[in-house]
Symmetry: C2
Subunit: 333 residues, 2 copies
């Protein structure tokens, strides 16, 4: 569990895209963000107050979160200076970088000397159990995709926000690095040992109030041969009561797999539902989330209407249209 | 890669079952076994020559393989004495035990001093790639099960033996501890990091002669919620051209999951084939392997005939009937 609130470190981000993790945290958990720390030459701007370490400390920040991708997989000397100063000022550090904070001897030494924590959210820090398959109290909804990177995390975060806005009980359950940094906790599923994948998701979504929704972040796709096993573990460990189908209609092939075409939404519905029913025979598909970022407003509306007529489920792009219709659909489950 | 031939260490096995790993090695790779090492009180007997370390060394043995389960997950002092002597005599050690050889400081020290290797086959020793899904040359067959522990490894080993007997090119590809000890190499799939599962199976079954069969050991089951993700990674990483369905008909529930009933062979056929076709659209189900250990000969024959009539695939218990009919079915692929 990462201590909040955060000071978001944007470093020397060459553009806004390089700081997309920080942007996600600010978009979805603005209350967790006291300010941004930008170095000279930083081209990203979250429109948060610019703060140095002392100002952020005074404003209550507990953790400096690296919200920016580093170039070439190396933590630069310029960054290092800030990170060490942050530890010395009493901040914990949190990072989703591929190269780990814990592999940097100078950071480890200062963290030990100051009693601060280094959170590498790519690395599991829990000994997860093997899944036991037993039913749990409370409700769970999972976003599944025709492909990787079609908007499953965004859909889950938007659905969680919409449920909360309606006064319903909901928890976003992060299963990837960005999601974990946004919420401060979760399971880095892609880094879990095979035998414990499903168990880690049972651990993440334990017994809860009968009227509480766990909104589980999806990973991969049943149809993406590189990561499908991760997706199935998520379906069987999560025991969802409800599935949201996610799709990006303009893609010509599966992400990173030029030889593979995308399945249809019907294929996804049938396959995901059949597999989900193994763990939860009552599971239903309740809605569809379309990522229409490469379409005009008119095209997006037409496409969603066409899909809704064809498959019979509420169909929206949560970014354009909000997720309220998906949240409403959960009320029926 | 574990050096052969082996001296099989049976320790103080309380019964034959405790030495079932050693039994598997002896049954399937008798040429790899120069003898057995039994301690006082050992109740298992593989009918191999009893040898001490010096005799086995003289007979050419390179590796002492721990072919017996230890009690209480502890490597006892009595075992340790033998293992250290073996290292000193120039043997490598290989083990599939949960508690690792490499976690025993005295074994590590002696192995370093003598230049010998400690093989813990539960632990991956390769940095596997992420699967790229590209088609590979050669043929692949995978055993998939309605449940865990229904005879998938036995089926694959019997099929490999039958193909070889017919003069065909075949390699058994191990994906679990016992299989790895039997063949001396493989992927301990249940211990691989989630993101690399499918890639590890691509690595295990690379390009080969067009008329060569990789006979891939199955793991778990698509219908077993604890391990289904491992199974799907195996299906998508293995890109099988052929599937063998495996079933044990007398089981009342999924192994370790009292609340879960087994799927039918028809359910397994449909689900496994649909998922396999994502990676290899030409994949076919070619045969069925029934584990009839809890049936009489007459019951077993009747059951296999009934299944064969119902599903239309050659159906055998490889243990009772041999795997030749399954091997013949591969000739059609």
């Amino acid at each position: 569990m990462i201590e909040t609130p955060y000071l978001l470190f944007l470093g020397d981000a060459p553009d806004a895209l390089a700081a997309k993790v920080a942007q996600g945290i600010k978009d979805w958990r603005p209350d967790n963000c006291v300010g941004q720390f930008r170095m000279e030459g930083c081209k990203a701007d979250l429109k948060l107050p610019d703060m140095d370490l002392a100002e952020a400390k005074a404003a209550g920040a507990k953790t400096l979160v690296i919200g920016v991708a580093n170039r070439g997989g190396v933590i630069s000397k310029a960054w290092k200076k800030v990170l060490i100063a942050a530890l010395e000022e009493g901040f914990d550090l949190a990072s989703g970088l591929h190269n780990l904070l814990r592999d940097e001897p100078d950071l480890v030494a200062v963290a030990e000397a100051t009693g601060r924590s280094l959170h590498d959210v790519r690395v599991p820090e829990v000994d997860y159990p093997i899944a036991n398959g037993e039913p749990r109290k409370g409700k769970r909804v999972l976003a599944v995709g025709t492909d990787c990177s079609v908007g499953k995390m965004y859909t889950a975060l938007a659905l969680d926000a919409s449920l909360k806005k309606k006064g319903l009980k909901s928890s976003f359950r992060a299963t990837g690095q960005t999601g974990i940094l946004i919420t401060g906790e979760g399971v880095p599923l892609d880094a879990v040992i095979a035998d414990f994948m499903a168990g880690s998701i049972e651990w993440l979504t334990p017994d809860n109030d009968e009227d509480h929704w766990d909104v589980i972040e999806g990973q991969g796709s049943l149809f993406h041969v590189s990561y499908s096993g991760v997706t199935l573990a998520l379906i069987h460990g999560g025991q969802p009561d409800a599935l949201i189908l996610c799709h990006e209609p303009t893609r010509s092939h599966m992400r990173g797999l030029p030889g593979y075409t995308l399945p249809s939404l019907e294929d996804l519905r049938d396959m995901a539902l059949a597999l989900a029913k193994v763990a939860n025979p009552a599971c239903k598909v309740v809605g569809i989330s379309i990522n229409t970022q490469h379409m005009s407003d008119a095209e997006a509306t037409r496409y969603c209407e066409e899909v809704e007529a064809r498959l019979g489920f509420p169909t929206v792009d949560p970014f354009r249209h909000g997720a309220d219709r998906l949240a409403d659909a959960l009320a029926e489950v």
